[in-house]
Subunit: 314 residues, 2 copies
């Protein structure tokens, strides 16, 4: 599958929709963003500006990329659509109404991928005429930077729709993570929440400063996890016997670690500790710019083939 | 503090001791490894060979580095020692006996940093004549690769000993993470255990393949965490209002995520799923070589100042 010559329709020109638009345009697709808000064009241009150097550092885009176009409504659609990304606000009624309107103007077999992080795709597809073509394709934030997409179907989703969506996301240079069933937070947000729970516990208990806890991850675990996964780390720790040896030697010990992990609440005292900790970090806008500047370098360093679409960076 | 001209004594020439030895030697210290095992010299040379290209990629070592030397016992010590690293097997009786013998041959104010990951430093120092100089300086594995050291004192540890150990580790190019009190697993192993618990839960429940769960981290969370910490990610997600805005918008939601996280056991069925998942990964030795080759690239990409000792890599 190549995206060149394809037309991608994105519903919603917010942060996520505009982020997706930058990716698809850079990969050579004709990209239409449907958003009635008069401010959408400005937001799209702003995110396009942030995304451009990131996509370039990741090995995209080539000369063929063209800017995404805004259309105010589905009535303005003037070309056949090959794939739809739904990136509207996280309100079920809004999404189901938009899906109903969408089904009036696209063929029955055009796949729709919802970016929803929290709503059930099974619920979302209940009222659809062709629910088999609806999938969740959840990006990691921001979509133009992070190379993973979580793909999951609902009760009525057909396997062909999942396969077609996977092929589109792969053509975009993404690593597709397939979930066998819906679960709150998919994979990435659950794993993130699990790590953060213990980080919050350690900060709330005063075991270390917020800055040192953050550094345990940015200087310790993060660089290693960019290269080897958490189970692989124990597999290699087992030596020639691998993970089986690790279980024999340390399986019981790991269960004891798990029992000792914290169970914090985000009460006002804990929020104050974390807020004060962040006062010693960079302001949010600077952090975002730092992330956009450095993460592509890390991705390229960890895996030179991460973005197989174009010639490799550096 | 510079390590050039200093003499470092390392008790124990196992994986951790030999890993430390490679770092100290590369930083210009005279490095003595005390180990009575006739196989220790071979192991030291083997780890030295693995460590050398890693230390070079990280910006160390210069021409001044010299190989660590083995001494079979403390009676063979023929020079004053500036700092001691205890890296013996994790058995309390063994460590306390070695500390007693050590105190006979070094001055009262020479700091001893134990690499223990699981034993209590307060217990370890109970029988010491000068317990104030004993600290835990726990490396992330392997010590020659990972740029963090967890530093914590016991009930009898003096602040000057912690400060002196911090200065030595900083001179080695390490980011020192200070713990205000002892806790099983310090920071890094607790955070690692917390993430892995959810990864195991997702695999055990069949939500996704082990490979896709690993990729959620290596392709998604890891590269981002190498640049911005988990609290910083929510700080920037809050936009101009930062973490305080994030708490207002999503604090309750996060607590609900936490409640939905899994609580797996490493029972035989779960071990089988993970073991089978690892069969699709690289063998342990290849994974270790891959880690050693790629993590220095990631560290340099994420933070060009990570190793401030020498001229920067590339």
């Amino acid at each position: 599958v190549t995206l060149s010559g394809k037309t991608i329709l994105i519903l919603g020109g917010g942060t996520i929709g505009a982020g997706w638009a930058a990716c698809f345009a850079a990969a050579g697709a004709r990209t239409l963003v449907c958003d009635p808000d008069p401010a959408a064009a400005g937001r799209l241009a702003e995110i396009q500006n942030k995304a451009h150097p990131v996509l370039q550092a990741l090995g995209l885009p080539s000369e063929q990329d063209s800017a995404p176009e805004i259309i105010p409504g589905l009535a303005d659609l003037n070309a056949p659509v090959d794939f739809v990304v739904e990136a509207l606000p996280e309100r079920m009624a809004l999404k189901t109404a938009a899906l109903a309107a969408l089904e009036d103007v696209i063929p029955a077999d055009t796949v729709i991928a919802s970016s929803s992080s929290g709503l059930s795709v099974s619920d979302m597809q209940t009222g659809m005429r062709h629910p088999d073509r609806l999938v969740i394709g959840h990006p990691c934030n921001p979509p133009y930077l992070m190379p993973v997409v979580e793909l999951v179907g609902g009760a009525a989703t057909a396997p062909w729709a999942l396969d077609r969506a996977a092929a589109i996301f792969q053509a975009l240079g993404k690593r597709v993570l397939r979930l066998n069933r819906e679960l709150p937070g998919h994979l990435v947000n659950r794993l993130q929440a699990a790590l953060w729970r213990e980080a919050v516990h350690l900060a709330a208990e005063g075991v270390a400063s917020v800055g040192d806890i953050e550094a345990a991850i940015t200087k310790g675990l993060g660089p290693r996890w960019a290269v080897v996964g958490p189970t692989e780390i124990f597999h290699l720790a087992g030596g020639p016997g691998g993970i089986a040896k690790f279980f024999d030697d340390l399986g019981d010990e790991v269960e004891r670690w798990w029992e000792s992990l914290g169970d914090p609440r985000l009460d006002s005292a804990t929020r104050a500790i974390l807020t004060e900790g962040m006062a010693a970090s960079k302001p949010p806008e600077e952090l975002a710019a730092h992330r956009d500047a450095m993460v592509p370098r890390v991705i390229a360093a960890a895996d030179p083939d991460a973005y197989p679409l174009k010639s490799k960076p550096q």
